[in-house]
Assembly symmetry: D2
Homo-oligomer: 260 residues x 4
Amino acid sequence: MLRVTVWGENVHEQKNRVVAEVYPDTMHGTIAGFLNRAGGIAATTATLQEPEHGLTAERIAATDVLVWWGHAAHGDVADAVVDRVCDAVWGGMGMIFLHSAHFAKPFKRLMGAPCNLTWREAGERERLWVTSRSHPITAGLPDHFELEHEEMYGEPFGVPEPLETVFVSWFAGGEVFRSGLTWRRGAGNVFYFRPGHETYPTYHDANVQRVICNAVRWAHNPAMRIADPHAAPNVPVDRALESITERGPRLHHDGEAGYR
Amino acid sequence: MLRVTVWGENVHEQKNRVVAEVYPDTMHGTIAGFLNRAGGIAATTATLQEPEHGLTAERIAATDVLVWWGHAAHGDVADAVVDRVCDAVWGGMGMIFLHSAHFAKPFKRLMGAPCNLTWREAGERERLWVTSRSHPITAGLPDHFELEHEEMYGEPFGVPEPLETVFVSWFAGGEVFRSGLTWRRGAGNVFYFRPGHETYPTYHDANVQRVICNAVRWAHNPAMRIADPHAAPNVPVDRALESITERGPRLHHDGEAGYR
Amino acid sequence: MLRVTVWGENVHEQKNRVVAEVYPDTMHGTIAGFLNRAGGIAATTATLQEPEHGLTAERIAATDVLVWWGHAAHGDVADAVVDRVCDAVWGGMGMIFLHSAHFAKPFKRLMGAPCNLTWREAGERERLWVTSRSHPITAGLPDHFELEHEEMYGEPFGVPEPLETVFVSWFAGGEVFRSGLTWRRGAGNVFYFRPGHETYPTYHDANVQRVICNAVRWAHNPAMRIADPHAAPNVPVDRALESITERGPRLHHDGEAGYR
Amino acid sequence: MLRVTVWGENVHEQKNRVVAEVYPDTMHGTIAGFLNRAGGIAATTATLQEPEHGLTAERIAATDVLVWWGHAAHGDVADAVVDRVCDAVWGGMGMIFLHSAHFAKPFKRLMGAPCNLTWREAGERERLWVTSRSHPITAGLPDHFELEHEEMYGEPFGVPEPLETVFVSWFAGGEVFRSGLTWRRGAGNVFYFRPGHETYPTYHDANVQRVICNAVRWAHNPAMRIADPHAAPNVPVDRALESITERGPRLHHDGEAGYR
């Protein structure tokens, strides 16, 4: 079983009547629900309000793929948890960022870029087009699909060039957006997927659910998690693979750790 | 004139007799020196020990390309300066990271990855091979060149896939390393160049100097610096490019700033 | 002066009254015209009907950047000319493919992919969005611009992942398209730019003209053209950079050319 | 079962005593052998000498991943078979090119580049370094492994920038080479893997076998093969997803096929 943790900020579900009505099981609960029904996936949830936001070292170690939704409370996420999440990604954990998580701390950290965009909340039509034919994340999807009510996100999207552009969105108001993008960071596969404004029933949409299920499987790296993704080991001269003789002046002593 | 600031940590030059003898003008002074002799470039220096590490807002605003060398004191660089440098890169400033700057705070921030590697300080032979024919950064270079004494850096190099791999190094002790890599972050061009251990005369080498001069010109983005590279403007419904009618529930009020 | 050759199929201008009225100077003539007014560019034209399609070895050798427009007569382009053009690109010539040139022989050859798409000729509105902020090809452009009447091209666009996605188009009929894409092939920079259906006045549009002028400058590689971009030289044992001794069985004799 | 066809040129095995002794079961037979022992893979062979080189339309349709080794007889491969192979890749067939297949017709066609390199046949030591940590193609491998006797291939390797650089080789004679590279072409995953000179026992090496087994699994695209990877369908105005009215002059008639 692929072990997925769905992290939800869990703020609007508690405070906003509209959101609570659209997602009576919360957004993260809804997402974990359809993942659990997909087959081969065991999804659980974690939220901002839990100790360590529900993302303890043990929990992260037992997570193959982490799905992240946040919006109003990006700044409340503790830096220590962000460090832990990024270390896990670099070590091989897959990670899916949804919608407003474009401004989540771990996404900005992993991208090394501002991740900004333009936006409009008008319940307008979004149409997602597949731009990478037969990509695993598009399995079972038609060439395009529509979400009748969505928030608009517009280009330029301030992220690094992706490995692959999987979806591009059309909006009724005249904008476009690269809605599905893949990257690799360390040993971890990262996917950003645009739709998912909290006042619309996006995560109840069958095509959206399929994308997220596919993305979770795509992001999973079955290799053993790298214990220390920052390790920078010294290779002593007497263990060089080709015989060499030390020459010239040195700054470091034998076995010394490098500077960080 | 292309305005270049060469930032040097300036620690070993002051404390280590070997380094002081190899670089009597300091490393950053040496680099600024050959840049100034290259034509069309006005290079100055800044160091860790100056107020704000010499990288005030005014200085950064007047810098087209920033060259960075650091090693022993990465941790002493103030986070506020790192923020300023990264903002400038995202806004269009070019940036060249040299050698041990693979662990510099702004490089790790811009990469979104650990940037780790293996290493050995044995004064061994390094041979750099051009892997991208006729790339602007290789102008005037032969297909390969050698540095008789260098520190070894070995793969895997923990960085994201580059836009282009420009150099790959061979080491006498048996390792290889992707020594010249390009990325784009926001509007800024970023280049990492491997050689440059402080106890060897690498920055006196004509080919190395040529690479750095070429890289500075390549990294220069003549577009006007983006004032706020994080801006995420709301596009009101009544200013949509195609006429749309607002529908469905809303989370935000008109003209409200989005969450960060 | 940057030497540009604008290649035009020159079929519809001669046979179709509408096209002849929109482009009384022909399409290639129009493009060469605004390039010549841009400053620093010396543009001339070549057409399908000339001997060797106007692309003799001498002409190609004297071309820094080749701009290509074709549509109805892709199949009439001689393979020997396609070979010559591709060899020049691999050797360092820049190349811009416009609109229906997505199915031109040299484009398909350079891409190694089908380069297919969906299409509709309805004179609908196209809006191009800049997706790579401050990219040289976007210099002087707003964040988006419109073409009131254009042919629609829709995703999926059957090309390899580009180095950078510079423009994405929105169409009134509901499609999107990655309209500006860059690649490198050998030493040559390649740019595809979508707009330019022959029955609309696209090449009279100021923004389109600016993109093409920028693209020509971006594509120019000032390095000396590589004489034989296919060369695969043998490096004899006695000229190896590190001293090695020949070992084991051999298939080839000294100095023998490799198999192709 | 993943259906793999291993295509071998089968020339040297028949004519050269050394090769026949190293590979008494032929090279393609040896490769198919270890693939069949890997689990979950059903590998068969096809050779140049068979009708249609053993790659009939039926055979290709029943092949999930095609492995290709050729050297002396690249020119003897019929263009019609090359077309069929490339169409299958664009439609989703995975493809692995081995060693001297860098000059094979389908590889050059899929790359859109010269695919050239430097070479030396001296039985020298090659050491392959993993450059992409925990990439599926490196599963179960150490950080590096050695082949005591191999032909040298040197940079620059005339291929487009890959999606990912998975291996880089070190050679005793002083060269380096990007030995494992991935691309996507249409719906097909493509991997090039350098080692495999016919006079050395490379395909008997456990690490090489593991790479090829991993690569075959990585390259497999389970999506249904795209029937016509060149299709460029017209979308009539009355079937546009958003209601639009045809405007302006037209070149094409309703339902007309586009130009190729």
